[in-house]
């Protein structure tokens, strides 16, 4: 015999033994007629381990001959023992220690009830042995495929119940006095309550007690508490026979801080008054399991109605939304990839989602009130609350994940939900699930397929049935009623469920290709909309875009094939009216959503080239500027989208918008010049340059900023100066007219108020005129304004000379005089006192409020005026760069600068967000509730973060204000 096998090492390898040498060794210790034993070991999940355990089992037994004979003669026994040994080392050692327990696996018919275990256990050790024998019975039936996943969970929960009853009766024997003073009932919660327990898990319970007749309530409750703790310890204590499990009573009212035992009335009082929504969710699974049966029933009967009224509670919708957000965040947390329970696409996701739907729809529909996840899912499917195929697929995925979890836990009987990484372990796991060929790959593939299914859970179980409510989908006989659909939309955050349903109806009606694509897409998009503060707005805008673009082939293709594009579109539409408006006017811009490269800002050179070329292509100035403005509209959309998707920080947004504005000016200058030349019938008699000032000069443009400019010109040699000035003025007027004309895009207003003498001065000047004006009249505010001056387009030589001209003015040697510093402060004091619009709240005014943009910019500018002559780094038009340069030179404390920068960035960010959300610019935080939520959302404070954003803004500006007080006001 030995000879035959020894010569067939190849046979052993083919049988599935990984370590053939070891196997040969072990077979030598197996005794006579090993073949059948070897073959059944080979059939188990882990042949090597099974064979080794089998040998050890025989060698440890005091009657190895009896066991050996039984194994040889009884094929069923042989297979069961090997199945257990191959799947669980823990049961291997249990079987070695308890030499007769193998007989539990002997009965012919495993379908029959388990073997009776003799008298009720009276000690902790007896209870443990009895428990593990029963557990072995369940494991063997599970591994032999006699029990389904559902049945395993049910049997385990039943076993847990019996164990709790035995433990309680041991406790009552140990504490007879206490047992006489009270009636105590144990309520199973969690997975035990839902008949879906794991092999190794804490068992969640709640205790309820009433005084025995004639006992004082305080005495009785103390006794019940002692009894309950004793019962918990009896289960969890470590004895030579190990431990059973922890009994966890943390789901009770007030959690770990509350009393262990309460009366029914006290439970009810708590749930009526204090309970959180998640506690009702937990109560879905409550059922009496041990102790006084009548009391347990009373408790459940009393508690049930409060559970089903949960949906009527104050804050239910908010709570549900918060819970939903937690689930979503949960799924996104990329950690714990190998977690079956909490990882993305794990069991918890399914359970949570099912419970949520039960709470939303369960009050009206009693059929949904099961504590068991699979049964509840089935009821939800039958009621039409979840699509039939989705429900089936989810149930399948859930069963798979649970089965996998069972197998993982069985190995060492440890409470783990992590799938091991080693190939050998994965192979054994795969084989234990029945994947005989290529077990590792098959297991991995199945797992990821099911997790994928679960990950798209919200789409399936929350949103898809909503479509079924409005559109008849093929294969769906039962539909969500309109009432249920409205309830669900409300729970998901839609404020106007009735109009939302109408939009859904219009988007999905009909047999067109568009409707078909939108039907598949909408369930996902509804979830994305719901993540933003104004889901209704998102859905409405989507309908509008879809109406405009619905028949365009690339649009449908993009939506269908580019997952990222649809998600981005959802975010853009539901969080920004500004971007939605731009998109509505030029829907083809939706194309850039599909491509990351498309969302990178164009360089200034690219933009200038494109816009001036577009301008030159048209002879008609209006057509030329319309072309320029169309490019601008597209670029504004690009920038807004990148901003909304957090691809740009606040400085990059400023740069991008400045570049767009400059290129627009360049294009408009070309068009206006050509228009004036056409009128003059010849070349312009002068050369011009545009000097950017203010935010444009500082690269700090916001979506709604005007373009602050000054114009300098130089008459061509031999031309008449007044004529040249008139021509230049005509060009400027034409630019203003063309850029400001109402059109489908936001106008760009030219603001020339910073020129010498302000609004009463001439629109254009020659370089010499600037020179003489500045040398004689320049006011301090003009020198200050020039700090932000930077030439942006027109004649290059003129640009250079202008910069040279103003250098000594804005960066005076030795800094400004005391008189000038006083003047700067005096003007600032007047601005503070007078500029704030009537009725505006300084605390929320990002520009003129204390610690706001003006405060910080003036502080930076004063430092620049004083030191830029000596410190080249300060010769910048950008506020933040100036502050940083000042730190480098020790002119400003590092902390002071970071307080200023922090406030400046937050204020700028809020200004940008206000424009994006409302589509209209404003310097104040919006007062409208939804707008405020939208701004908070875009600034990263979450859809419910308006209060926090406001507090953070006031904190940042208060801190900045203290620096301004010191540094600017001196």
């Amino acid at each position: 015999m030995y000879q035959r096998l020894a010569t067939s090492r190849g046979h052993l390898a083919r049988l599935g033994f990984a370590d053939v040498d070891a196997a040969v060794d072990l077979i030598g210790r197996l005794g006579e007629e090993p073949d059948a034993l070897v073959e059944s070991a080979a059939f188990s999940a882990d042949p090597d381990q099974s064979l080794r355990s089998l040998v050890e089992l025989l060698e440890a037994n005091d009657r190895p001959d009896v066991l050996h004979r039984a194994l040889r003669n009884n094929m069923a026994l042989r297979e069961r023992v090997n199945a257990v040994l191959g799947a669980s080392t823990a049961f291997g050692s249990f079987l070695r220690r308890h030499q007769r327990v193998w007989r539990d696996l002997e009965p012919f018919d495993l379908d029959a009830d388990e073997v009776p275990l003799g008298p009720a256990p009276e000690t902790r050790d007896q209870l443990r042995v009895a428990y593990y024998r029963r557990l072995l019975g369940i494991a063997a039936r599970d591994l032999m495929g006699v029990l389904s996943v559902d049945e395993v969970g049910e049997r385990l929960a039943t076993l847990a119940g019996e164990t709790l009853r035995s433990a309680l009766s041991i406790a009552a024997t140990e504490l007879p006095e206490q047992a006489g003073q009270c009636r105590l009932a144990v309520i199973a919660m969690g997975k035990c309550g839902g008949y879906e327990l794991n092999y190794v898990s804490d068992v969640d319970v709640i205790f309820v007690a009433e005084p025995a007749a004639g006992t004082d309530e305080a005495v009785a409750m103390r006794a019940a508490g002692q009894l309950a703790s004793a019962m918990m310890r009896i289960c969890s204590d470590h004895t030579p026979e190990g431990t059973i499990w922890q009994v966890d009573a943390a789901l009770r009212p007030e959690g770990a801080a509350g009393p262990l035992v309460r009366t029914v009335a006290s439970h009810i009082a708590y749930y009526e008054r204090w309970a959180k929504t998640w506690e009702f969710q937990a109560l879905l699974k409550a059922r009496p399991v041990a102790g006084d049966e009548k009391l347990g029933e009373e408790y459940v009967a009393a508690i049930r109605p409060t559970v089903w009224q949960a949906a009527d509670r104050e804050h239910f919708v908010e709570d549900v939304q918060a819970m939903r957000r937690r689930v979503v965040d949960h799924i996104r947390a990329g950690e714990a990839e190998r977690q079956i329970k909490l990882g993305p696409g794990g069991l918890r996701d399914v359970e949570f989602a099912v419970q949520l739907l039960q709470l939303v729809h369960g009050r009206a529909d009693e059929s949904l009130r099961s504590g068991n996840t699979l049964r509840a899912l089935d009821a939800l499917t039958r009621g039409g609350y979840v699509g039939r195929e989705d429900g089936a697929a989810l149930a399948e995925a859930y069963r798979f994940l649970r089965g996998l979890e069972h197998r993982v836990q069985l190995r060492q009987l440890r409470r783990t939900h992590v799938v091991p990484e080693g190939t050998a372990e994965l192979r054994a796991l795969g084989r234990s699930l029945g994947y005989r060929s290529d077990p590792v790959r098959t297991l991995t593939r199945e797992w990821s397929r099911h997790a994928q299914e679960v990950r798209r859970l919200h789409e399936k179980i929350f949103y898809r049935p909503l479509l079924a409510a409005v559109a008849r989908l093929p294969g769906e006989e039962v539909r969500l009623t309109p009432d249920a659909a409205r309830q669900r939309l409300t729970a998901l955050g839609y404020a106007h469920p009735a109009s939302a349903l109408k939009h859904l109806e219009s988007l999905t009606a009909g047999l067109s290709r568009r409707a078909a694509i939108q039907r598949t897409l909408l369930p996902v998009m509804l979830g994305w909309f719901a993540a933003a503060p104004d889901p209704d707005q998102g859905l409405l805008a989507f309908r509008q875009v879809s109406d405009a673009l619905g028949e365009t082939p690339w649009y449908l293709r993009q939506l269908r094939d580019e997952g990222a594009a649809a998600e981005r579109m959802a975010r853009v539409l539901s969080s920004s009216r500004y971007a939605s408006d731009l998109l509505m006017r030029a829907p083809e811009a939706a194309g850039m959503l599909a491509d990351d490269a498309e969302l990178r800002s164009r360089t200034r050179e690219q933009l200038v080239a494109e816009m001036s070329t577009s301008a030159r292509r048209h002879d008609d100035p209006e057509a030329a500027v319309a072309a320029v403005r169309a490019v601008r509209r597209r670029e504004l959309f690009r920038c807004a989208v990148a901003d909304l998707l957090d691809l740009l920080d606040v400085h990059e947004v400023g740069d991008a918008l400045t570049d767009v504005a400059v290129a627009t000016l360049e294009g408009a200058l070309v068009a206006a010049t050509r228009a004036v030349e056409a009128k003059l019938g010849g070349e312009l008699p002068t050369r011009m340059a545009l000097i950017a000032m203010g935010r444009l000069g500082g690269h700090e443009m916001s979506y709604g900023s005007d373009a602050d400019v000054m114009v300098v010109h130089r008459p061509l040699a031999g031309s008449d100066e007044p004529e040249a000035a008139n021509a230049a003025k005509a060009v400027v007027n034409e630019m203003q007219r063309l850029l400001g004309a109402p059109a489908a895009d936001p106008p760009l207003l030219l603001d020339l108020a910073l020129r010498p003498e302000g609004k009463s001065g001439p629109l254009v000047r020659t370089l010499e005129s600037y020179a003489s004006y500045y040398s004689r009249w320049a006011a301090t505010w003009e020198a200050q304004a020039l700090l932000r001056a930077v030439p942006v387009c027109g004649d290059e030589e003129l640009q250079r000379e202008f910069v040279e001209l103003i250098a000594p003015l804005r960066w005076p040697d030795g800094g400004p005089s005391d008189e000038q510093v006083r003047e700067v402060r005096r003007i600032k004091a007047r601005v503070d006192a007078e500029r704030l619009p009537r009725g505006a709240d300084p605390a929320t005014h990002t520009k003129l409020g204390p610690g706001g943009l003006a405060d910080i910019e003036w502080t930076a500018q004063l430092v620049q005026m004083r030191h830029a002559a000596a410190v080249p780094g300060l010769r910048t038009t950008r506020t933040v760069a100036a502050l940083q340069a000042a730190v480098g030179e020790g002119l400003l404390g590092r902390d002071d600068a970071s307080r200023l920068v922090e406030a400046w960035e937050l204020a700028s960010r809020i200004r940008g967000a206000v424009m994006l959300v409302r589509g209209r610019s404003s310097d104040s935080l919006p007062s409208d509730v939804r707008d405020r939520a939208g701004v908070a959302y875009l600034c990263g404070y979450g859809a419910d973060g308006a209060g926090r954003l406001f507090d953070a803004y006031r904190r940042a500006t208060r801190r900045a204000r203290t620096v301004v007080d010191r540094v600017f006001w001196g």
Partner: protein, 451 residues
């Protein structure tokens, strides 16, 4: 409509309640009340009662004036002092913004936020206030001319713990306590205090939010009972130059679950490391939070007088001159381990004061401040030099100093939230400016005869 709300609506019917007062507290600690008819209550539960926030001290201008007062049905109580005629009930409210989020101007929300922070660290905060106040024969009169009388006359001439037979005081206390108990507020202790007409009533310890609600109720009850007995009650911190003022010594403890974390068997004074760090936090930030715990110009008159009122930042075991006192430990009562802060006065806003105090203590725990040695002597009897040698700093001497310290406190700004912080400072600066302009009797009496 939840069960609580149903209960309230049913009670309105059964008890024949004709008016429901909705209570909330402004930033300065004054109780505000809106009366609604029972019929409007159902709407108030679901949507809140709208009101113009700009009419309430410190509420306006968070974004706009529209605010909602949303009654908390668990605080429903029949008001006991309107015995005859139509029954009246009250509920405390949370102040909400129109979008249903909590208003940062609501002092209750300030305390709730700080309690949430404590909860994040695993703690529940319990307080037990000893509230002192005066009973006068008559209320203040502000009539013009010769009738003008601002010098109050106390109801008796008794002193500390004196039993005054047939006295107004004991009668008063009995009725007030009965009334408090009937509103669900447990009283631990009551007695005559040190000054003529001065009373003390100690509330039972409870979580800080309930205590703060209870203090607001307490002040109303005391004033109402006084009126019904034809006397006048005042919580003014220091009505008499020559007698001690009214404090609200507050005993505090932190619990982790059902375990008092200030208690540690075998440690010095049975005070745990956490307890020591909490005290260290109180001392470290004592100056910054004084404007909140002692918010009126008059508050500082009490603390300048010595005796039982603290003027210096120090702690001591059973030392009644210290800012923080660690009371004598009672064996077998480890759950009652606690510390006592003696600066707070009866006229504070309890929500803000508890929030500030808790934040300071938590900061001590977070940053693991070390506790300086305790003071064993009566710090009043030490010389300036001795105090300096021992590193004992004075508390702010007046409201102006206190405002100055609070202004630069990130801790207080963060705790109160920027809105309340800003309003509070502006209001208190204005109060001090008004006060500065007053020509006082002191000046007239001293200077007029000689200059």
């Amino acid at each position: 409509m939840d069960k609580q709300e149903e209960f309230v609506l049913r009670a309105l019917e059964e008890r024949d309640v004709r008016f429901v007062r909705l209570w909330f507290t402004d930033v300065l600690g004054f109780l505000k009340s809106v009366a609604v008819a029972p019929a409007e209550l159902e709407g108030a539960f679901s949507e809140g009662i709208g009101f113009d926030g700009s009419a309430i001290e410190g509420f306006a201008r968070v974004y706009e004036a529209d605010m909602l007062a949303k009654p908390d049905p668990s605080t429903f109580q029949i008001l006991p002092w309107r015995g005859e005629g139509p029954t009246t009930a009250r509920m405390f409210c949370d102040i909400l913004m129109p979008d249903g989020s909590s208003s940062y101007a609501d002092p209750r929300f300030v305390l709730k936020r700080t309690l949430a922070k404590a909860a994040d660290m695993g703690f529940t905060f319990y307080t037990h206030p000893e509230i002192e106040f005066f009973l006068f024969q008559d209320g203040p009169s502000f009539k013009d001319g010769a009738d003008a009388r601002l010098e109050p006359v106390p109801v008796d001439r008794s002193g500390y713990f004196d039993h005054t037979p047939q006295g107004v005081g004991s009668d008063f206390r009995r009725q007030a306590i009965t009334m408090l108990e009937s509103m669900g507020i447990s009283v631990e202790f009551s007695h005559h205090e040190g000054a003529p007409g001065q009373q003390e009533i100690d509330l039972r310890y409870a979580d800080a939010l309930s205590t703060a609600d209870n203090i607001m109720t307490f002040r109303v009850v005391v004033k109402e009972v006084a009126l019904s007995q034809g006397v006048y009650a005042s919580f003014m911190p220091k009505p008499f130059t020559e007698y001690p003022g009214s404090a609200m010594h507050t005993h505090m403890s932190l619990f982790e679950g059902d375990r008092n974390v200030f208690f540690e068997p075998g440690a010095e004074f049975h005070l745990s490391k956490t307890g020591r760090a909490f005290i260290a936090g109180l001392l470290h930030h004592a100056g910054e939070i004084t404007a909140v715990t002692n918010q009126w110009v008059n508050s500082y008159k009490r603390m300048a007088a010595g005796g039982e009122a603290p003027s210096y930042i120090c702690w001591g075991h059973n030392n009644r001159s210290a800012l923080v006192r660690v009371p004598m430990y009672k064996p077998t009562k480890e759950q009652s381990s606690r510390i006592e802060l003696r600066s707070i006065d009866s006229a504070c806003n309890p929500y803000l004061a508890f929030a500030a105090v808790l934040a300071a203590g938590l900061k001590g725990i977070e940053e693991d401040y070390s506790l300086p040695p305790g003071a064993e002597d009566d710090v009043w009897t030490l010389t300036d030099r001795e105090r300096r040698a021992m590193g004992i700093q004075p508390l702010p001497k007046n409201l102006d100093d206190a405002i100055g310290l609070m202004e630069s406190s990130e801790l207080v700004a963060e705790t109160l939230g920027e809105h309340v912080f800003d309003f509070f400072l502006r209001n208190k600066r204005a109060e001090f400016d008004d006060y500065r302009r007053q020509v006082t009797p002191f000046e007239k009496e001293r200077l007029l005869p000689v200059l």
